[in-house]
Amino acid sequence: MAEETRAPGAAATESSAPSEGQSQGQSHGHRPGPRGPRPGGPGGPGGREGGRKYFRRKKVCKFCVEKIENINYKDVRLLAQFVAESGKIVPRRLTGVCTPHQRRLSTAIKQARNIALLPFAGRAN
């Protein structure tokens, strides 16, 4: 569904309209320029990549979409989605989580680390 909404937007940016690109960037707040050839990165649930032209799916905040307000340190399964293999917290620009939720998320992850529910570094084994 998100791809459907993305497709017309991508077509519009391809016809080189910088204002269009800017309004989109402003709505999401993570795109500095109109259109930079950035590596898409593996972020987001299933980020796509292609050769020359690729559609960057508009990332949305999981917590806003699914209306999860309760970000708790005990919910390891939820938190683990936002922790990289190395144990690091995945940055917002890769996951698309909005700022208020990322703030709560990072607090929760740090609490979970403290009580050995999540690792500080490396995989939990």
């Binding site: 309760n70 005990k74 050995a116 999540l118």
Partner: protein, 134 residues
């Protein structure tokens, strides 16, 4: 000062069940003697630790929800620190977060009711989105 706290602590995995119960009951009496109340005790069972603590790879998690002031937490943490089988503990204040969640929930319920009431006056229940799409 009545605040709600969650005290989670880990005891060593080789501790006997009755010893753990004894430890929990002593903590409970410590809470009640410092003008606090124990709201719930939850034994979360044995879990693998995310990293090695001391020399333990596993631990038994216990979650204690208490209500009271800061002095209570001070006393409780002191006890946890001196009790030998406890290998780790964490205290989190939860009342403000709970307040925030309740507020959001109330807001959502109110909004849901407002959107459901004019759309479906005949059917009291049965999906708020269904009449809109039909």
């Amino acid at each position: 000062m009545n605040r709600t706290y969650e005290v989670m602590f880990i005891v060593r995995p080789d501790m006997a069940e009755e010893d753990l119960d004894k430890l929990i009951s002593t903590l409970e009496t410590a809470v009640t003697s410092t003008n606090g109340t124990v709201k719930s005790v939850e034994k979360m069972g044995k879990r693998r630790l995310a990293y090695v603590v001391g020399r333990f790879h596993d631990g038994m998690y216990v979650l204690l929800t208490v209500e009271g002031g800061g002095g209570l937490i001070h006393e409780l943490e002191r006890r946890l620190r001196v009790s030998e089988p406890v290998i780790k503990f964490l205290t989190v204040r939860i009342d403000e977060e709970q307040k925030r969640l309740d507020k959001i929930k109330k807001l959502r319920d109110a909004r849901k009711k407002a959107s459901a009431a004019p759309a479906a006056p005949a059917t009291p229940e049965g999906g708020e989105a269904a009449p809109v799409t039909a």
